[in-house]
């Protein structure tokens, strides 16, 4: 297999993998389709919340209602996002963090804190308090649950400079083609994934649910005999492979045994020591234009 074919295969496998990850968590055909990427994000948020012990998931609709009350009523002192201004940061308030559905936050809103200069909002209804409380719980969630973090626009580079790098200094065209393996890559991948993959195509495979592409290995025994096949295991002591006939072999990697693992990404690894931030961002800006 030529080098460029190998690279293309690696890129194709990566795309297939991303698709599989999305669909594995997608709803059935008759449900309202949530985009796969969105589902993945929700799963990530749920898992992170559970792992961190953050408690229940705030209700987005109620929190949105609360935002409309909180902003004009409370934002002046506490900031529109509740992170504090002339009044305290409410995201780290023990009252907010101990509260569930307004039972602790409510009395503070209704009675105020005259000693600290907070007026009473005695006319606030129970529903309004409940909504404000939910808004604050959502603000806590959005800060504390890193599974909810939203990446902002990462495409800040210069596409022309990226193209020049791709075809020139980066020597990307040695293996890749924008009409071949990378055709429409800007439509197939999110910029965030694209930026990781351009540096190291297997980078995103570490995320949960990911598997790695199969590698080929050649083992040369001390007597010169060669075994070739798909790599099953490799450590400091053993190499295991399945050969073309489906036969499984394990060899102790003692002295005199040579193990050569096919390495499609050696050039990518060598490049890792060479990039500047500008080159990376320019390259991303160029690749996203390949719609």
């Amino acid at each position: 297999m030529s080098i460029s074919a190998r690279c293309a295969l690696a890129a194709a496998m990566l795309l297939a993998l991303r698709a599989a990850q999305g669909y594995a968590q997608a709803p059935g055909p008759n449900e309202n389709a949530t985009p796969p990427a969105q589902m993945e994000e929700n799963q990530r948020a749920l898992r992170t919340r559970e792992f961190l012990g953050l408690g229940r998931q705030p209700d987005a609709k109620l929190a949105s209602d609360g935002e409309k009350i909180f902003g004009p009523t409370c934002g002046f002192c506490h900031g529109a996002d509740g992170r504090g201004g002339q009044g305290p940061d409410l995201l780290r308030s023990p009252i907010v963090l101990d509260d569930d559905k307004g039972e602790l936050i409510g009395p503070v809103i209704q009675n105020g804190r005259p000693d600290k200069g907070m007026p009473a909002f005695s006319s606030m209804t129970e529903d309004q308090i409940r909504a404000i409380a939910e808004f604050l719980h959502m603000q806590v969630e959005l800060a504390a649950n890193r599974g909810t973090y939203q990446v902002q626009n990462i495409v800040t580079g210069n596409a022309q400079a990226g193209e020049a790098y791709f075809k020139g200094e980066g020597k990307c065209t040695t293996c890749h083609s924008v009409t071949g393996d990378l055709a429409h890559i800007g439509s197939k991948m999110e910029p965030l994934d694209l930026q990781a993959a351009e540096l190291y195509p297997e980078a995103r495979n570490n995320d949960f649910g990911g598997t790695r592409p199969q590698r080929q290995v050649t083992v040369t025994l001390a007597n010169g005999k060669k075994l070739t096949g798909s790599l099953r295991h490799l450590d400091d002591f053993y190499v295991s492979l399945t050969d073309a006939q489906g036969q499984y072999h394990t060899v102790a990697t003692a002295k005199g045994v040579k193990v050569e693992v096919e390495d499609k990404l050696v050039v990518h690894r060598q490049m890792l020591d060479k990039y500047t931030d500008k080159q990376i961002h320019d390259l991303t800006a160029y690749l996203v234009t390949l719609k």
Partner: protein, 540 residues
């Protein structure tokens, strides 16, 4: 009834009066390198994890054989879907091993592996990332469940004596530390980084659990150190968690502790300045909690590189002069050697390639490169996203003069997601690109790599949130493990592999050794199982 109780009480009092033998003589804690006991997280106060035992040595280590295994039987995967790994280093006292996973304490017969008791805590929150183990004072064990409690157990029965609240899990503090006993103090550290909270270290009375002192790892308004924060609000976001045990020099009467990252973790725009005493090594008086000196490993950290890694204590010769030293392989990729009497820098040198710093200042502290802070479009790092190493215990062998650390080479992109003027939480994330685990033996005088071993694997990128610790012995051995489930013994002097054992999971704690009935034992925790080895009897 009442009188009977009084009688029992007075009997107990009189028994205590005549000083009934305690399971662990507190004097034992002051002994360097005990061989019949492993009484603290690190085996002794130095943090060296070096044993003078040499029944097992490089010439016979290949005869090591499994004596028994003990598998933790909890209810399976815990909250968050992770299986509990044994990250604690068991205490071995009087033939019994005491160890933990989050929410659980176990006492197991060190000769047979039979369980003596199991203490089960039902948590109301807290991060289940790990638990580092126990502290012991006389007959009492000290344990920290994840939701901010400090619990004392009777080592004989596993029965709870009392519990004290030391951190609020609703504020997103969590507790994973192994309490550290020094004299009449039990030092307990805290963790937390989901919501921005202030770090601290507390000392409690070993008998009553009452608070003796608290050292805040970030200053309050107007206090020394506050000049390294832009304002009081930023200071209140805090950080500087104290989640790994420290080390102690009894002659200097100083306890050395590493502190974690500042908050918000990756969004540093609201906290311009060095942010003392986060990401630092601090020397405290254990009787008062007063700060004596400090060295900041990562001024103004924005990469989640806690500086909590064990500060290892040993004496050595620098330029021909004897020095009392402290060495740390920090998560930010630097190897630091300090004079532990005053914190003066001896060596500050990267042990893995890195590009986040522009060199070191006059104090030997790295100077962060602002351009390498997380950015919205991704900032490129030539160091592993999780850092050059992590919490896993390193080892120093006075026999070889080498400091052993399991490190990681790697590359990453770091993104900023919270661009607010008042960021909160992590505020960003890291994207690992490629990484490779590597064992390094460092010369403490220069920081130069004497030898290293890159663990062979099917692919360069290896994951897992556990990491293999290290143990050295006078048998010229270094015990550690790879990320493929192998426990490995290296020739400590030159890095040759002498023995390995394929476990069901990669090594997840620091291995330990001790002598029992004239036999040297090796204990390693890998995943949910303890593996215990001794030399197989030789055939005549």
């Amino acid at each position: 009834m009442k009188s009977r109780r009084l009688m029992v009480l007075s009997l107990l009092v009189s028994l205590q009066g005549v000083s009934v033998a305690q399971i662990l003589d507190p004097q034992k804690l002051l002994q360097a390198e005990p061989t019949d006991t492993w009484p603290t997280y690190n085996g002794d106060y130095s943090g060296r994890r070096f044993s003078p035992l040499m029944q097992i040595q490089s010439s016979n280590v290949s005869d090591l054989a499994l004596a028994w295994m003990y598998r933790v039987k909890t209810s399976g995967p815990v909250r968050g879907g992770i299986n509990p790994d044994i990250k604690s280093t068991p205490l071995m006292v009087n033939g019994i091993l005491y160890f933990t996973v989050p929410d659980h304490v176990f006492a197991v017969d060190a000769r047979t592996g039979h369980e003596l008791w199991h203490y089960d805590w039902v948590d109301k929150g807290g991060h289940l990332v790990g638990n580092r183990g126990l502290g012991m004072y006389g007959d009492w064990l000290y344990f920290m469940p994840p939701d901010g409690w400090f619990v004392s157990l009777d080592a004989r029965t596993g029965k709870e004596r009392w519990r004290k609240k030391v951190a609020d899990e609703k504020m997103q503090y969590f507790t994973t530390a192994a309490p550290m006993v020094i004299g009449h103090h039990v030092l307990v550290g805290v963790g937390g980084d989901a919501i921005d909270v202030q770090g601290y270290l507390e000392a409690h009375d070993p008998e009553t659990g009452e608070l003796q002192w608290r050292w805040n790892s970030t200053p309050r308004k107007g206090e020394p150190g506050s000049e390294t924060w832009p304002n009081a609000a930023a200071m209140e976001h805090g950080g500087g968690m104290t989640w790994l045990p420290g080390t102690y020099d009894k002659e200097l009467n100083l306890v050395y502790w590493g502190t974690g990252n500042p908050n918000p973790v990756m969004a540093g725009q609201g906290r311009k300045g060095a942010n003392l005493w986060t990401c630092s090594i601090v020397a405290l008086n254990p009787d008062t909690g007063k700060l004596v000196w400090w060295f900041q490993g990562s001024p103004h950290d924005t990469h989640d590189w806690d500086n909590t890694e064990t500060p290892v204590l040993f004496d050595g010769a620098i330029d021909g002069k004897p020095r009392k030293l402290l060495a740390q392989a920090a998560r930010n990729g630097y190897f630091f050697v300090l004079d532990r009497t005053n914190g003066a820098s001896v060596v500050s040198k990267p042990f893995v390639p890195l590009n986040w710093s522009k060199g070191v200042d006059a104090k030997g502290q790295p100077i962060p490169d602002e351009a390498k802070e997380p950015t919205v479009d991704g900032s490129y790092l030539t160091i592993n996203w999780g850092g050059g190493t992590n919490w896993m215990p390193p080892s120093f062998s006075p026999q070889t003069g080498l400091f052993y650390v399991n490190g990681t080479l790697g590359y990453a992109l770091v993104y900023l997601t919270d661009t607010s003027e008042r960021p909160e939480g992590y505020g960003g994330f890291g994207q690992p690109l490629w990484s490779q685990h590597i064992l390094e033996a460092l010369d403490y005088r220069t920081g130069n790599v004497k030898w290293s071993h890159a663990y062979t694997t099917a692919d360069g990128t290896q994951g897992g949130n556990s990491g293999p610790g290290a143990l050295t012995t006078a048998g010229n051995l270094l015990f550690t493990g790879d990320y493929n489930g192998n426990l490995i013994a290296f020739n400590a002097a030159n890095g040759d592999i002498l023995w390995h054992f394929p476990a069901l999971h990669s090594l997840s704690n620091g291995p330990e050794t001790y002598m029992l009935d004239g036999q040297q034992y090796l204990v390693a925790g890998a995943g949910d199982t303890l593996y215990v080895f001794k030399l197989a009897p030789r055939r005549p």
